[in-house]
């Protein structure tokens, strides 16, 4: 179990991460044989045959339609969502998939990313894919700072959604979770609700946590009353009610009572009672995905380079991806012909993140000259300026990006950081809050929480920092959030590791 380095925390199905490869290059043959498809507003880029990808795209479209049906509306996203499916395990390991991690999801301010390992069993791939998509859907509900058990429990619960035998079936049990519950029983809910801050983190306890999170979600989702309680809990959180108070208000009974109810439910599940929601599928309109398109090697390099860049940019400690990888891949993508200003700007940003300020400056200047009215190019120019401590220049680029696209959460977040560097905390807070109206990321909540804390707005700070601090995988944001809370004397948010 790694204890730091990733902000993929909420999304990991399992723990235990393969070590990164030493070489920054990717063999050319690994960039061949990929396909992509877009369905229901979701892109999938896969190292898979067109037939395999078509089946997975249908599954994803079916899930999307079913979820819209269940919810009664679509949860909108202002930024693109892309899934990357890896077949080759060595390449997957460089993107932190495999070695026990079935998949992960990373919501950022300019797009949502998910990586999933293609497994020998198509159904296991599908379950991992739907689990990660559920995380991304929950991340869009940024008004409510959801606790980990809720996030993981619902992702597990919906991961087995399927249309079979003339019915939409929701909540089929996961055999692995049942095995854990049969062997070790459910965790006491007091422990579950405390999150990982109260647990000594090891693989077995994380399995207990996932199994109990799933079982509790399964129990509550199984009845109108339980669904109402979950909904009330989320609404309370969205109104800013503290976690414990929201839970007490929503469930309205002592934890011991809820513990006993959960134990009975688990007993039913272990005896094979088919506790699933079975709905009429005739009202569900499922989009028919178009045929997957083959991708050329340089297109794959651009896709993977963009993914690697997002991962690198999201992790300031550079511990979970080789920082040379985005630059290498983007250089491959732009080597064979004239590249777009956006691709060159991305390459420039990758160079900046790899520490090559001169190379970055030259490349971004060319991109800005060719596309001065492209908000993304301006934003990346701002990021590059921030990376070289040019707060004023960065602020100008971010402001220009906002002039072009006022709904760019990433540009508002960049502006906030530039203003904070310039010691304009109030203006920075305004920019962060605008960013949070438009999007969500761990780094944004950390930055905004820190500003609240420094200004003495303790409740607002705790609401933002505590969910980060309770992250089981304790990425840099989580560790920094825990540290901030500890320093402010705001409770044992960290705990031992």
């Amino acid at each position: 179990m790694r204890s730091s380095g990733s902000r993929l925390a909420l999304a990991m199905l399992w723990v235990g991460v393969a070590a990164a490869c030493a070489s920054p290059g990717v063999p050319r043959d690994r960039l061949e044989g990929w396909h992509s498809v877009e369905t229901a507003g979701l892109r999938i880029v896969a190292e898979a045959t067109a037939q395999q990808l078509d089946a997975l795209a249908s599954d994803l479209a079916g899930f999307d339609a079913a979820f819209v049906h269940l919810l009664g509306h679509r949860i909108p996203s202002a930024t693109p969502t892309t899934f990357y499916l890896f077949g080759d395990r060595a390449l997957a390991a460089r993107f932190q998939v495999g070695g026990g991690v079935a998949g992960w999801a990373l919501p950022t301010l300019d797009g949502s990313y998910s990586c999933v390992l293609l497994q020998a069993s198509a159904v296991h791939t599908r379950i991992a894919l739907l689990h990660e998509y559920m995380h991304l859907l929950l991340a869009r509900q940024r008004d409510a700072l959801l606790p980990l058990w809720y996030n993981e429990g619902l992702a597990e619960y919906f991961s087995t959604l399927a249309i079979r035998d003339g019915a939409l079936v929701v909540g089929s049990p996961l055999e692995g979770r049942l095995e854990v519950l049969a062997e070790r029983g459910a965790l006491p809910l007091e422990q579950l609700f405390a999150g990982f801050g109260a647990l000594r983190i090891d693989r077995r306890e994380i399995r207990d946590f996932y199994a109990t999170s799933w079982a509790l979600s399964h129990y509550l989702m199984g009845t109108p009353r339980g669904r109402g309680e979950l909904s009330r809990f989320e609404r309370q959180l969205a109104r800013g009610v503290p976690l414990d108070a929201a839970r007490e208000s929503a469930f309205g009974r002592p934890l011991a009572t809820l513990d006993a109810e959960l134990a009975r439910h688990v007993g039913h599940l272990l005896r094979g009672v088919p506790a699933v929601l079975v709905l009429d599928p005739s009202a569900i309109e499922i989009a028919d995905p178009p045929a997957p398109e083959p991708l050329a090697a340089d297109e794959v390099a651009l896709e993977l380079g963009s993914l690697a860049l997002a991962m690198t940019a999201a992790d300031e400690e550079r511990e979970w991806i080789d920082p040379r990888l985005p630059r290498t891949l983007l250089a491959t993508a732009t080597a064979t012909g004239p590249a777009s200003p956006r691709a060159r700007a991305a390459l420039a940003y990758a160079a900046a993140l790899a520490g090559d300020a001169d190379g970055a400056g030259a490349a971004i200047a060319g991109a800005l000259r060719d596309a001065p009215a492209d908000a993304r190019v301006q934003r990346l120019a701002g990021e590059i300026a921030l990376a070289s401590d040019g707060a004023d220049a960065a602020g100008q680029h971010f402001e220009r990006a906002i002039e072009i696209d006022a709904r760019s959460a990433a540009a508002w977040f960049g502006l906030g950081r530039a203003l904070e560097r310039g010691e304009r905390a109030d203006a920075a807070r305004g920019a962060y809050e605008r960013a949070r109206e438009l999007g969500w990321s761990h780094a944004l909540d950390l930055a905004l929480g820190r500003i609240h804390l420094e200004a003495g707005r303790r409740d607002a700070a705790v609401a933002l920092l505590q969910p980060l601090a309770q992250d089981p995988h304790r990425g840099p944001s989580g560790e920094q959030a825990a540290e901030l809370l500890r320093e402010a004397g705001l409770g044992p948010a960290g705990g031992e590791e």
């Binding site: 049990p173 039913h268 005896r271």
Partner: protein, 256 residues
Amino acid sequence: MRPIGVWMALAELALVALLSGCATRSANTISEGYAGASGIRSFLLCAPNTFLALPGELQDGTTPLREEIQAYLREHGREVQWIDLYTAKQLWLSAVTRAKEEGESGNALAHFAGELARRYEFQAIVVPSLLLHEARASLGRVSWDGVKRRMRKVNAPRREGIGRHQDVVVDGARFEGVSGSVSVTSVHVVVFTRDGARVFEGRGGLELVQEVDLSNVSTQNEVELRQRGDLFQEREVLREAVEIAFDPLLTPPEEP
């Protein structure tokens, strides 16, 4: 409002009444006079796992199973129609509710059968399920519910030779197979009359769920059991399980 859990408890009571033998009984049971099912010309087939939980990992198996049972019944000269899972669940819930209101939860099955009889033409109801359970492997061989299977091994390392270079762990795993508890699937069927009387219950072994991955056997002395990627794709295997599960209600057709 009913407390959460009441419906689950009711569902379990009904489950017990419906499938009393499935968890433990290995031999098929049949009521007197039903062998060969000469009096049954038409069956009503419920969607698989209407009454028994199905792990999410096995959901892809229900359509092939249903299709195989339909084909099998038709090959025995029987008419067969099926009811989808949504309809079956709705009718079952309504039957359980009615039985509960009467204070006789054991009557749920009779109410369910009665409602089906009002809606469909048939002589018997077939309730099939895919079961996931465990069986004992001995050196890679597994026997359960009338079938014998051998565990498939994948990613076997190249054999390095004999004598000093021989690795007995690798060779043992590679040539003999593993021993221990493994996951297997079976087909389970229960047959009821139009008035809800159970006249047959049977099960037939289907497939091993896992295969042995030997990728790490030579470096870490570890074998990994992983779920197979090709479950429920072999028609012959499904057919064998269905034939065993329906024996002796419908015996295999005579060889020409």
